[in-house]
């Protein structure tokens, strides 16, 4: 697989995606959307503090990639991580309770929005330093390679992280040692308030592994099936011992970088155009209706999702704060 920019439309039938799976993608994307809207609302109410980076608009990336993974594969990402956790199958209640800083949160209230993990779901965080998850993800892939267990590592990074030096240190080692890893660049076009063309000498990021011989592909990250198709091919590439591969997901975040984003760096028209013309959830909804799903069926899913999010929000508010004694736990493991 060489470096390429994909322009052919995805032929859905060739992917062997059943209507049941399509409905699952719809449900999973909708769960992320509604969860994030609720998190935004709860932030506004002062129930969530600190930094909170919402994933709204980018849902197709994690849902499509997750569908391409197998049991045992590991996932790591940066701090815009709520969507990744939900896609990995982590419980929305535990995620929301971590956002509210309560004891039933995934990190017992000690990590917050940017630092959550689930060994059970093979989700390795949730890292707050831009780019730091890339060597870590490369190390997870190294462990798969060391153990020869047939699993792969999936490492997400943004168009902001792509200019960090440690990313290229990782690319070099991954290619040198043919580590089983897929690097997914989520290009949402803005690193905080700096647009990609103001930050990157070349804005087509799938080329960034060229110097190391790492193949790359640009993918429509607003189309869950396009993501799934590329994800399948890329994970197969990594799993088959051919080394790392890069997928550049062209995506968009509707909300600000974090909750306190003045939004002066892009126009409302641009945001509205992406929402109305390229929304990944609306796109799949139309597709499902064309394929014969009924409005009632979709409304049923929407209602289930709403209930799950409401339940998570309630749980996150009802759960108590951590026991003060938790201040001192988990610094070091007992020998």
């Amino acid at each position: 697989m060489a470096v390429k920019r994909k322009s052919d439309p995805v032929k859905f039938d060739d992917l062997g995606v059943s209507s049941t799976e399509l409905l699952k993608y719809y449900r999973d994307m909708l769960l992320i959307r509604r969860f994030e809207e609720r998190a935004g609302q709860m932030y506004g109410m002062g129930l969530i503090g600190g930094f909170c980076h919402l994933y709204i608009g980018q849902e197709a990336v994690v849902v499509g990639m997750q569908a391409a993974l197998k049991g045992g594969d590991t996932v790591v990402t940066s701090y815009r991580d709520h969507g990744h956790m939900l896609a990995c199958g982590m419980d929305p209640k535990g995620v929301m309770a971590e956002l509210t800083g309560r004891r039933s949160g995934y990190s017992h209230g000690k990590g917050g929005s940017m630092h959550m993990f689930s060994r059970e779901k093979n989700f390795f965080g949730g890292h707050g330093i831009v780019g730091a998850q890339v060597p870590i993800g490369t190390g997870l892939a190294f462990a798969h390679h060391y153990r020869a267990n047939g699993s792969i590592g999936l490492t997400y990074l943004g168009d902001g992280a792509i200019n960090q030096g440690q990313v290229y240190e990782s690319f070099n080692m991954a290619a040198l040692w043919k580590l089983p890893i897929v690097y997914v660049i989520e290009n949402n076009r803005y690193g905080m308030g700096t647009s990609i063309d103001r930050a990157s000498a070349r804005t087509d990021l799938f080329h960034r592994g060229t110097a190391y011989g790492i193949p790359g592909e640009q993918v429509d990250g607003m189309n869950v099936l396009a993501v799934y198709e590329s994800g399948l091919a890329a994970t197969e590439h990594a799993r088959s011992g051919q080394g790392p591969i890069i997928l550049e997901m062209m995506t968009y975040r509707y909300r600000g970088h974090s909750m306190s984003d003045p939004a002066k760096y892009r126009t409302r028209d641009e945001v509205n155009r992406m929402r109305t013309e390229h929304d990944p959830i609306e796109h799949l909804r139309h597709r499902l209706l064309e394929d014969g799903a009924s409005e009632t069926q979709l409304k049923g899913i929407e209602s289930q999702v709403r209930d799950r999010v409401a339940e998570a929000a309630q749980f996150a508010q009802d759960s108590t704060e951590p026991d003060p004694a938790e201040l001192w736990t988990d610094v070091l493991a007992e020998v």
Partner: protein
């Protein structure tokens, strides 16, 4: 039931804001995700989105209104087909809005035994020993642990084919192969982070830095990733990793290659920091570090690699992390030291003995967790203390020991603590200047005499 839309906070510090404009009119249907209004503060503009489907039943706060307090109801959304409540009913609904928890003063709990675990000293070894260099003791420790546990591997620059830049990993490639003894590119930040990821996955990496000077390139991965993740994950993400290599001065390599990082790492919760001196401690503590489920910074010293000691043969002999060693028993003054400075402290003690001053020398061995008990017990006996370190004095290990002594045994002190440390300058190249910049035996002798008022 109709739901309120509340004035949102844009940041944890915002208390009020302005409704810049409404994007929906009363009576207009809304879908989840629709933007209802724009809110402004002096810092930012934010959109308020609908969470549920329904009809914008009432705009409570008109656009252009400034100083609207956070959590004030600003609009009402009615469900589809639901009767729109009358305006006067709104006042009552405001009370049911969820509240953020009120901050209350909670008494800070004591760290309890966790912060100062009682580490028993190792049993006295009476078995067979072999005289070997520190370099060989380190190699044997790694080889024994790699034989014992298949998840242990060594990674770093020149550790395999070159046999180690300081020949510490001699023979390991031949015994364990390239899968477990891994030469890296010159890429400290990258391979330190890779090691952290492998440790998260349950492997036990031993990451060699050619010297700790180069570990500054990797500082973010060591502190932010290795040390903090276990805490931030509520205990899920242990990081069993050893970062090891020479620390401190070498000979005539100047400022960028000569620095003691002991106090840097000792500052950080979530790390253990080990600074051995004897051959037995190099071996026993490195074995303990490799078996430890936490990230361990293992600070070696280039000028000790060639020194020979009697080292126990028993492969199960482990030296516990967190316990100082009384290198010499004495009565009149306590001298604390670690790593190569223990050698100088012992030489100073011998000099002092000639003038009738009996010094007790403590080889600290571990800096985090710090063996407060042994230091305090010694000071309570001698009533005087000198701290010796190769690094800079300001905010150094000696400064910390001074604070500990003030807090724990001030009333036992007969003299102020004296510090012997590297001079507060980047290390110079010229032989005479270099000698002036680092602690010498005479400096320790002088400090001990001053502390003893003799």
């Amino acid at each position: 039931m109709a739901t309120e839309v509340l004035m949102p906070a844009l940041s944890p510090t915002m208390t009020e804001g302005k409704i810049a404009r409404w994007l929906k009119n009363e009576g207009e249907p809304v879908r989840a995700g629709d933007v209802l209004a724009e809110i402004e503060t002096d810092k930012a503009t934010m959109e308020v989105e609908a969470i549920d489907e329904g009809v914008l039943a009432r705009i409570v706060i008109p656009e252009g209104t400034d100083h609207v307090a956070v959590n004030t109801p600003i609009a009402l959304i009615a469900g589809n087909g639901e009767e729109i409540p009358r305006a006067e009913k709104l006042a009552g609904t405001a009370k049911v809005r969820p509240e953020a928890p009120v901050e209350t003063r909670t008494a800070r709990p004591s760290p309890g035994p966790r912060a100062r675990p009682a580490v028993p000293a190792e049993a006295e070894y009476t078995g067979k020993t072999t005289t070997m260099t520190v370099r060989e003791a380190l190699r044997d420790a790694m080889a024994e642990e790699m034989r014992r546990d298949g998840s242990v591997f060594l990674i770093g620059e020149e550790v395999a084919e070159y046999q180690g830049a300081y020949k510490v990993s001699q023979g390991l490639l031949q015994e364990f192969g390239a899968r477990r003894v891994i030469d890296t590119p010159i890429t400290e930040h990258g391979f330190a982070g890779l090691g952290v990821g492998a440790a998260f996955a349950g492997l036990r990496p031993v990451v060699e830095f050619m010297t700790f000077n180069f570990a500054m390139q990797a500082m973010d991965q060591i502190i932010n990733s290795a040390a903090k993740t276990r805490y931030m994950s509520g205990g899920q993400m242990g990081c069993p990793i050893v970062f090891r290599g020479p620390n401190g001065i070498a000979a005539r390599v100047a400022a960028q290659h000569s620095q003691c990082y002991a106090s840097w790492y000792a500052h950080v919760p979530g790390l253990k920091v080990v600074t051995p001196y004897t051959g037995a401690d190099h071996k026993g503590l490195l074995k303990a570090a490799i078996r430890d489920p936490n990230p361990v910074i293992f600070l070696e010293h280039e000028l000790l690699y060639g020194e020979s000691f009697a080292v126990p043969d028993d492969p199960e002999l482990i030296v516990p992390i967190g316990k100082a060693r009384i290198a010499k028993v004495g009565e009149h003054v306590t001298i604390t030291a670690f790593s190569r400075m223990v050698k100088l402290a012992m030489q100073a003690a011998a000099e002092l003995e000639k003038t009738g001053i009996s010094a007790e020398v403590l080889d600290l061995r571990t800096l985090r967790p710090f063996d407060i008990e042994t230091v305090v017990a010694s000071v309570k006996k001698t009533n005087r203390i000198v701290s010796v370190e190769e690094g800079w004095p300001f905010a150094g290990i000696g400064a910390e020991i001074a604070a500990i002594v003030m807090e724990q045994c001030f009333d036992w002190l007969d003299a102020p603590l004296k510090r012997v440390a590297g001079q507060d300058v980047p290390l110079p190249y010229a032989a005479n200047l270099e000698r002036l910049a680092v602690p010498q035996v005479d400096d320790i002798v002088t400090a001990a005499r001053e502390a003893a008022y003799r």
